[in-house]
Symmetry: C2
Subunit: 547 residues, 2 copies
């Protein structure tokens, strides 16, 4: 039998979920709150006016509905304006990952068919080199933090501030289909070209509503409420800066955009602007803790959400020692990204830190509307017993519906009607997700699965270890064997054998099997990282193979 579908009366407004609606409430709640970037400082009323001005500038630059506008910028108020203005005129915002190799940047811009590029002075050399390969691009707008914009041979349409100054401060943003693409960006897998994910207005509005509830409603996870001050430390080009700029703007909190990430500047901004909430991948947080400015700053009360990779216990303890309130979230480029968060259980946040560590390091439990479980290699559900491993598959209202212009990998992503995260995890009977590894990084040795992250964690507990990566290398007898790269702490000295001995204590405690102890542990100067600061296991494997 069919359900009864709601019947609209004549004139009834079928409210589409559009990004423009996210702007309504922040300005009403706190019209005088500030958006800060460098020497630029203005309030929510001005933010709204500037978004209107930018919309006019984009239209004047020939941008129509369905066109794609690329942004190449550090975290700035301009980027925030683009988060809104570009999709609000019906165009697609391409968040260019400027940390990819020049070839990959060029690939993504050509693949996304960018029409217009908003480009910061710092990326002029890059875009000048790429321009000949980008026939779809018909214009550039220059973004500059300097009094005199950098010189370029690109003939840009103008400098951003100058163009905005000449544009009208009101704009009648149109309604359109909520399933219109609002944003796109590229994710680099371990093989092949970067893949384009894309998110609709509807998806971003729903993600924002869920994000505000997630960050506000749980007493053990109270990261972003009306009186907080927000500063991202996950780049704005990376998965919508985890979606928080949209959430912060909807709520109407003060926002601080730090430009290029310089650890000392980040800490100064925290101190001087009264920042209370930031988020970043573990490597960025580690840089922060190690910087000069951090040594002379009281970091107490800074609420930090980490994700993108599991934090090591060592990092977590360092943060706790500095009085930082740290939490873990989980998501990926394909998921907009919010999937789960390390809410503490009721009452748990009143326990001594030691008893909170496990929960704070875990990926937590799925947030509202997220439906998620584990499957094994055969696609069968894996029990939630805290031990059994399986790949996380998920349904949520804000997952990419495929890869742009790549039907085949899109269908693989969605095999069986669930989105495959590529993450291997266990789930406790209490529902807590513990990410164990990327499915590609799991080391298959002697008939069992060894999680590289687990071994990395245990090695990182050794005082002489600053950084560590574990990968599987082909082995004729065992299929694969784990191999570790280790960067020593400053001034430390160590023989690989001492680390094997260190690991053997966990074997005798029954925490890991003896198969998990790497035969090959190499002391190195540095470990390859991806553009967003994660361990680059693909490159590590290549490097180890070639060595």
């Amino acid at each position: 039998m069919p359900t009864k579908i709601i019947e609209p009366a004549e004139g009834a407004y079928p409210y589409p979920l559009l990004i423009k609606s996210l702007l309504l409430s922040g300005r009403r709640y706190a019209p005088q709150r500030e958006i800060v970037h460098g020497s630029s400082r203005y309030n929510y009323q001005e933010l709204n006016a500037r978004i209107c001005r930018l919309a006019h500038v984009l239209r004047a630059a020939g941008i129509n509905e369905g066109d794609t506008v690329a942004v190449m910028d550090w975290d700035s108020h301009r980027y925030l304006e683009a988060y809104f203005a570009v999709p609000m005129i019906g165009a697609v915002l391409h968040h260019v990952n400027v940390r990819l190799s020049p070839d990959q940047v060029g690939y993504t811009m050509a693949h996304a068919q960018d029409s217009l590029v908003l480009v910061h002075d710092d990326f002029l050399p890059l875009i000048e080199a790429l321009a000949p390969q980008l026939p779809s691009v018909h214009g550039y707008i220059q973004l500059s933090d300097a009094p005199v914009p950098g010189s370029t041979r690109l003939s840009p349409l103008g400098e951003y501030e100058a163009l905005l100054a000449g544009a009208d401060s009101t704009y009648d943003f149109p309604d359109f289909d909520e399933n219109s693409v609002a944003t796109t960006f590229y994710t680099t897998g371990t093989t092949g070209n970067p893949k384009g994910v894309y998110f609709s207005h509807r998806q971003l509005v729903l993600h924002t509503l869920s994000m505000t509830t997630t960050l506000a409603a749980y007493e053990g996870f109270a990261l972003l409420r009306s009186e907080d001050v927000y500063m991202p430390m996950t780049p704005m080009f990376h998965v919508h800066a985890w979606g928080v700029p949209y959430a912060a703007t909807m709520l109407g909190v003060k926002q601080v955009y730090p430009g290029r990430y310089d650890p000392d500047r980040l800490v100064r901004l925290f101190r001087e602007e009264g920042v209370t909430f930031s988020h970043g991948v573990p490597t960025v947080l580690q840089m922060l803790l190690n910087c000069e400015e951090a040594a002379k700053t009281d970091l107490t009360g800074w609420k930090l959400l980490t994700g993108g990779a599991a934090p090591t216990e060592s990092l977590v303890r360092q943060m706790a020692a500095r009085g930082i309130e740290f939490f873990t979230g989980y998501g990926l480029s394909e998921s907009c990204p919010l999937l789960s968060a390390s809410f503490l259980e009721p009452g748990q946040h009143e326990l001594p830190l030691e008893q909170q560590l496990e929960a704070r390091m875990a990926a937590g439990i799925p947030v509202q509307l997220v439906d998620l479980h584990l499957i094994d290699a055969a696609g069968q559900r894996v029990p939630e017993d805290g031990a059994s491993l399986g790949e996380i598959v998920v349904r949520a209202p804000w997952l990419t519906q495929g890869y742009y212009r790549d039907a085949q990998t899109g269908a693989q992503l969605w095999q069986g009607g669930w989105m495959h995260t590529g993450d291997v995890a266990s789930i406790t009977p209490g529902g807590m997700i513990q990410i164990r590894d990327r499915i590609k990084d799991v080391i298959k040795t002697g008939g069992e699965w060894v999680c590289s992250l687990r071994i990395e964690n245990l090695i990182s507990l050794h005082a002489a270890v600053a950084e560590v990566a574990v990968v599987g290398v082909p082995d004729a007898r065992w299929g694969e064997r784990p191999l570790a790269l280790v960067v020593l702490a400053a001034g430390a000295e160590l023989e690989p054998g001492a680390l094997q001995q260190h690991l053997m204590q966990f074997v005798s405690q029954g925490q890991i099997s003896k198969w998990a102890v790497p035969d090959d542990i190499r002391i190195v100067e540095a470990i390859p990282k991806t553009s967003v600061g994660k361990l680059d296991k693909k490159q590590i494997r290549e490097q180890v193979r070639d060595a």
Copy 2:
């Protein structure tokens, strides 16, 4: 130009916004939290199992997708289960307003074409009398709080608990169109028959997400967060109990359902169950404050949201004196209902109470995604200057799209593409809505508009006044003149002339015009109320006219 619409890959799941999704997170966050009603007390895992059992019972009773199931119950765990199970099988939940006259109840049930009725013992006499006029009803399920269910000549399919006990505790709830009708209920206007409003799954999911953000994210309005304990005091049949049961369940908070509203029991439950958050119309809150149990209970810290009618200053002061944290929200049956809330401005909640009163009594500012403004009689926008009056018109993702089987009044509701609230208000330059009156209750006298609510408020400040209503009565010379009905406080004595004198002080202060002072002030024993406890101005006008 068309926008670019997202393209789903093969297998991509187009996540519909369905009420079943609201159940995912509460159980994961706090599986052991309790749902309490009378002697019934169970946790979220059990709630989920019982919803599945109820779904089987409904299907076994012949309910298919698109059928309508009526509930006639006081606030209970059973009603909460129906909030989910009925729409989750694709049926429509008809919230029967049991406080309407029997004729009107019969009208609404026939008009809604109810198939099955879940009916509490207390309403057996009512439904037995109506049954012959309800050909669409083919079955009854009996709801009972007593050890032995009440006797009836209706031959019900069974008693609720007995039926649930015999049903399976898992159910594979289907997906369907998110625009399917989930709920319906009737609103009584000043003229004509009750009108049916209806809300889809999509609308209720969006309303819930906005509600959780609204109630959690604002430090000056922190009504419902993860550690709160919720008890409604707005009936569950009335506008989804303001939507809070869905929000509370999604969050996973403890919920207490108080049955029929007995003020002493409500206060006892507050004390014994650790209730922190409730909501109710001003008349219910007034009863609460006046009851015996309240006199011997420390009410400090009880967070009360009021709405449905503006609270009088007198009530607000009484609540403050008892240490109650009170706030005002605004919405109507047609709006699901959440439209705006009296968020205090940043910092304002730290001011002395006296300086918060105005903001706490106002309807506040619109919540996320709500777009709203004032129009005059000609449909033109009215300035937001805190003085100019206009009717509130609104767009939001959760407004009824019409009146059920009544295209004409639906089109009137949505005239010009905006939903007409029928409420006359001013909006301050800071965006704060101040409801002045129902457009039908505004008294047009001597060429100007006099707001009856304003006069009621000023009269209520007089110590001898317990309750007051002001209506317009036809007047040959002035068009209309205000007339006041006054119930005196217990033991008080007063001549009408003293109240006119009381009002003249506000005339000389310039707060009201002299036209606003009623010539006719009548001391009465009681003032007619609607089924939900509001002043029944329609009946008052009739009574005054007939007198």
